[in-house]
């Protein structure tokens, strides 16, 4: 996987963020265009290619979620876009509460605030299970583990969208 190669890493899901940073800084010092301002055209081009790849790689790998998404894609897996079925009932009620607040029904606010807390909790849980799954997969790479990761990522993404919508509505409303 080229992003791992760019940082001189084995393709593993669990990465030490300090080590990652150090690799990024060391390679930036070596390859940044500033180091080649008096170089040949080829050297300049190579430096630009190396650093733009390095920057892309660091940006993608430093965040566990984008890292896992990249890892799945590179392993030939499509990311799922469906709503997680276990959340359907929750979403239904949430939409009603959002609607009520928009219509000026302040009693819905309490419900939304508690939903906000619940979603933040879910994100935390998702992050914890991701790191457990990462370690599992790195220990014993198998397809089933990747499937679990994909499901967790999908759920996490969905919850983070819900959280964004709730926060947006709460903010808009309190600003008025």
């Amino acid at each position: 996987m080229r992003f791992y190669d760019a940082l001189g890493l084995e393709p593993k899901l669990a990465l030490d963020s300090e080590d990652l940073k150090k690799r990024f800084y060391d390679r930036s010092r070596q390859w940044h265009p500033d180091r080649f301002s008096r170089g040949t055209a080829e050297e300049k081009q190579r430096s630009e290619e190396m650093t733009s790849m390095l920057n892309d790689a660091f940006r993608t790998l430093r965040d566990p979620v984008t890292r896992a998404e990249y890892f799945l894609r590179e392993s030939g897996m499509e990311l799922s876009k469906d709503a997680p079925p276990e959340l359907l009932e929750e979403v239904f009620e949430l939409n009603m509460a959002l609607e009520e607040l928009r219509d000026g029904d302040e009693s819905a606010r309490e419900q939304l605030v508690s939903a906000q807390e619940r979603f933040m909790g879910m994100l935390g849980e998702a992050d914890t299970s991701l790191s457990v799954l990462f370690a599992q997969y790195d220990e014993k790479p198998d397809r089933a583990a990747l499937d679990d990761i994909r499901a967790t990522l999908n759920r996490r993404k969905y919850v983070s969208n819900l959280l964004r919508d709730v926060e947006k509505e709460l903010n808009v409303h309190s600003a008025n």
Binding site: K21, Y25, S28, R29, H32, P33, D34, S37, R38, E48, E49, T51, S52, M53, N55, D56, F58, R59
Partner: protein, 612 residues
Amino acid sequence: MSTLQIDFGHAKPRIVGIDLGTTNSLVAVMDLTGPRILSGIVPSVVSVTESGEVVAGAEAREMLITHPERTVYSVKRLMGRGMGDVQDELKLFPFHIVEGSESVLKLQLGDKIMTPPEVSAYVLRKLKEDAEDVLGADVTQAVITVPAYFNDAQRQATKDAGRIAGLEVLRLVNEPTAAALAYGLDKRKEGLVAVYDFGGGTFDISILRLHDGIFEVLATNGDTHLGGDDIDNLLLNIALEDLQSEWGEDLSGNASLVQLLRRAVIQAKEALSFAPSATIDLEYGPRKYQREIDVQLFNRLIEPIVERTLGPCRNCIKDAGITVEQINETVMVGGSTRIPLVRSAVERLFRKRPHTELNPDEVVALGAAVQAGILGGEVEDKLLLDVTPLSLGIETMGGLMSKLIHRNSTIPASETELFTTAVDGQTNVLIHVLQGERELVKDCRSLARFDLKDIDPMIAGMARIQVRFLIDANGILNVTAKDLRTGKEHSMDVKPSYGLTDDQVEAMILESYDKAEEDFKERQVREARVEADAILGAVDKAKEDDAYQALADAERATIERAINELRLAYHSDDHLLIRDQIEKLNQATMALAEAIMNEAVGKALKGTNINA
């Protein structure tokens, strides 16, 4: 006079650092001891004299009053912008825009018509000459600073200005990042720094992480049309209203008076940073106008402007993924940060007293010089990792913008996209590249249209052209296309939405070249004369020495002749002739110099004996 000289040789040419500001510009260079400002502040003002000569700097600033119709200031506000962008500016600034230029603005100055990059090039040329005078060597390479929030067209326009001025622009550096370099904040090995840069016409906020000499920008935000200018305009409008009621006439059309009043307003504004009240003081012929403004009123007036800087600050903190408590230091840059209300607003937001040790007018140029040192290889322990301030994307179906490179991505940053044909036999594909954060194309900034042409006619969807979008270390977009079927570069036509085409810039460079050669010759003569003055002075002094009388008559005659010949050559405009005569006088005084030197050494040795 033969003197001992330390020859720095013709090693590497010096790269200068330039702060091309809205109000003032400065040039600096990296020395062994650190960055150093070369010569004084150059007002970013350009004027055309009645004889058609273009002047820049302090001289042009004087002409703002005497010849406002042929003088332009704050042209940075027009860089890389189109007619549609500047309507608001035109209400506030006396720009004389020539009608009928949409993608490139053209300004009328006397009988000359110039684009904003050409106007800026005159300021840059003045800085270049000042630097050359101080360094005594040609300056051809520069680092120029730009507001961090400048878009691609504004950056490109700045680079064009450099090229027109005869400077190879090795790097565009963001102003707040340059300031961070100048502050030497990396003495703190690790930490988070916020740079608040409020200048004459632009506002930037950047948040950086420092790590062992690496300055990594985490996020940047700002407003490229918010600055001290706006405060001046507020006060100016109040004064103009006063005049209308006191003098009974609308004077806003009297350009010369408006400029005088503007100057008075700026003086009052600056005084208010140090005093509880100040007076706007205007004398216009026999008429006088005075108005006192106290700090309370001033603060009330400018509060909305100061408030407008705080939104971008909050967004920047959020984008950086940090909280305000994590920020270790705050740095103030730009003349407008002298205003106490600005300082207190920043202190309140960031919850710590900001750094104001360095002169806020000089810190950006000093930082540009440090970056010049990094590029020149003299500074090895520092490295700047900057970001692109705006997202880059392409137009997709339905007038939507599809983002390819997100804002605050470390640059250089690149993304590739595969393009194909939609109908059978289609031979070209048009790619519309945009910059901005909004979803609709119409709310984003159009950068350019790329036409992938000469595609072999084939069934729809068969063509495979890979286009690479690269934002380089200057924050400027580069696009290349490769035909995946043949593996070859695919040609394309580029039509920038705003700004000059390469051909136009080339033409401007050629145009300025004749003039530049003239300027260059003049400078060489000036330099030769400075040297002649030095040697003539030294010889005059030497003639008073006993050693001179001890010379043979013939030797004294040779020296006298050489002096006369140099004095004659002095007034010619041939620098080579002057230098020849300097050399002859040098030769003629060789023996004299030696005699004086021996005498001095003898005295010194004697002195040693006595003290021993």
